[in-house]
């Protein structure tokens, strides 16, 4: 079975990072993706060589790839007193047909009794054609909930953590009980500057780089700088669609607004 890894999950890809910079061509961007993927592939057979395709979702939507160069290397391997083989044989850079996200596919091989191909490092240097995708809106709260008028610029950035998440509905456990909604962040947002009008504060946000053709849910989590007056804080979406769907011909959605309220149960 193929192994799929998400570069947004530190448990699946360690120290995942990317930088991007401009080229002289409009609509093109150059990017460098790096990380240490964690397939944690183990087996107990040194009579055969096993092959496996490992896919790393780089979590970056693109229209097309212009040029690319990929480097790979084994990063964590182990064996216990047997014949062995470890290999990252080849790589393919591809675009997910649905979400348009960049994917790195690595063909690996392993043998040993036991052997572990725990991690491999990768670096992808790529020029892509892209367009800005984004979800944007405003988070509002009243002065009664939290007086933010004296916050520094740094503290404003720590008020909320905003992300665009996919939703996985987990079925009820065997024997009864309730199912669960599990939200998986695929892109994170940045906060703008704090403004207020009367007793109402507002913080704009933008989530860039969200994937296409996926049902996305805007999630706002309370940050360490937000000190609500009440014991319980609730974030409610007050504007825009839910879920949000981005298309290649409609890559941005704005007006996805939220309001934060707080109360104390007596």
């Amino acid at each position: 079975m193929a192994i799929s890894l998400d570069s947004n999950d530190p448990g699946q890809v360690a120290s995942a990072s990317h930088i991007e910079f401009e080229t002289s061509q409009p609509g093109q961007r150059a990017l460098v993706f790096s990380g240490i993927a964690i397939p944690s592939w183990n087996l107990n057979d040194d009579n055969n060589i096993y092959h496996q395709t490992i896919t790393v979702n780089l979590r970056y939507p693109v229209i097309a790839v212009v040029n690319a160069s990929v480097s790979l290397g084994l990063a964590s391997i182990g064996n216990d007193d047997s014949a062995f083989l470890f290999a990252t044989d080849s790589d393919t850079l591809c675009i997910d047909n649905n979400s348009q996200e960049l994917m790195l596919q690595v063909d690996a091989a392993l043998s040993g009794d036991p052997s572990s191909l725990n991690r491999f490092g990768y670096q992808v240097v790529v020029v892509v054609t892209t367009q800005s995708t984004g979800i944007s809106g405003t988070i509002r709260f009243s002065k009664d909930v939290f007086d933010a008028s004296n916050l520094t610029e740094q503290q404003v950035q720590e008020l909320f953590l905003v992300s665009a998440d996919t939703l996985t509905v987990l079925p009820p456990p065997p024997g009864g009980g309730f199912g669960q909604n599990q939200y998986n962040p695929v892109a994170y947002g940045q906060l703008g500057g704090l403004t207020w009008s009367g007793d109402d504060f507002s913080v704009p946000y933008t989530i860039a780089g969200a994937p296409y053709n996926v049902e996305l849910y805007g999630i706002v989590q309370i940050g360490p700088a937000f000190k609500p007056s009440g014991q319980t804080t609730v974030v409610t979406q007050t504007g825009g669609p839910s879920p949000v769907g981005l298309k290649v011909n409609a890559p941005s959605v704005s007006g996805v607004d939220f309001r934060v309220t707080s109360y104390t149960v007596k």
Binding site: S17, I19, I36
Partner: protein
């Protein structure tokens, strides 16, 4: 098959001018292969450590009063391991834990979380390799802002070389000795009378210079000793 050598200054740090995003104007690519000098903890135990890999990248016009603004994307993997036989072993580069600039020198460094369980060294190696080999390769792309070069073909000022040039010397090139930059400077056109006794870098024996004791460029005591290496600088013939 013939080929023409590419004249690359060392250290081999590639700087690519870029137009953005602000405030960055340079993309730096620096790669390094180094050993992870961590001890083994014995059979059946994994030693974990954080190791620092220094690179040849020094931020131009680094000012230790100003924290550098930079972004990076860094990958790491195993470059060489072994030897071992009939044993349990593990070599792991788990994480790029940190990157930054040395606050004193401005040298770019990379921190890695590594782990290792060394195997038993094969008996047939006992007469030769008697230590475990653990080499790691790191490659980092760094977005930085560096001031434009002011008429110099080199990416950053060579103060000692400039000082020697004031004495009539001529800059030939540079070499690297364990990470230290060694400028080659010609102090004078005088006929040779001594030979440097310790040479590092790529200077050929034909370039070695000797100086007459009456030469204004050399100190009398230096010539009287028959030549020596002073600091990190070598004196070579034009």
């Amino acid at each position: 098959m013939s080929c023409t050598p590419v004249n690359v200054f060392v250290p081999q740090v590639t700087r690519i001018p870029i137009t953005g995003p602000a405030p960055f104007n340079t993309l730096v690519c620096c790669c390094v292969v180094g050993s992870a000098p961590i001890p083994g903890a014995g059979i059946g135990y994994v030693t974990r450590a954080e190791v620092t890999m220094g690179t040849d990248f020094v931020l131009a016009d680094f000012d230790q009063r100003v924290p550098p603004v930079f972004q990076h994307s860094t990958a790491a993997w195993l470059a060489g391991i072994g030897p071992g036989e009939d044993d349990t072993w593990l070599y792991a580069v788990d994480n790029v834990s940190d990157t930054g600039f040395d606050p004193v020198t401005g040298q770019y460094f990379i921190n890695l979380d590594v782990g290792v369980m060394y195997p038993h060294i094969p008996s047939q190696f006992q007469g030769g390799i008697q230590f475990n080999i653990y080499y790691i390769s790191v490659c980092s792309y760094v977005l930085v802002h560096e001031p434009p070069k002011a008429g110099s073909p080199l990416p950053f000022p060579l103060r000692s070389a400039v000082r020697k040039q004031d004495h009539g010397g001529k800059l030939l090139g540079r070499a690297v000795n364990r990470g230290a930059v060694v400028p080659f400077v010609v102090p004078c056109n005088a006929p040779p009378t001594f030979q440097a006794t310790f040479v590092t870098g790529s200077a050929s024996s034909a370039q070695l210079n000797t100086c007459p004791s009456q030469c204004d460029c050399c100190r009398e005591s230096r010539c009287a000793r028959g030549g020596r290496r002073v600091g990190a600088e070598l004196f070579v013939r034009d």
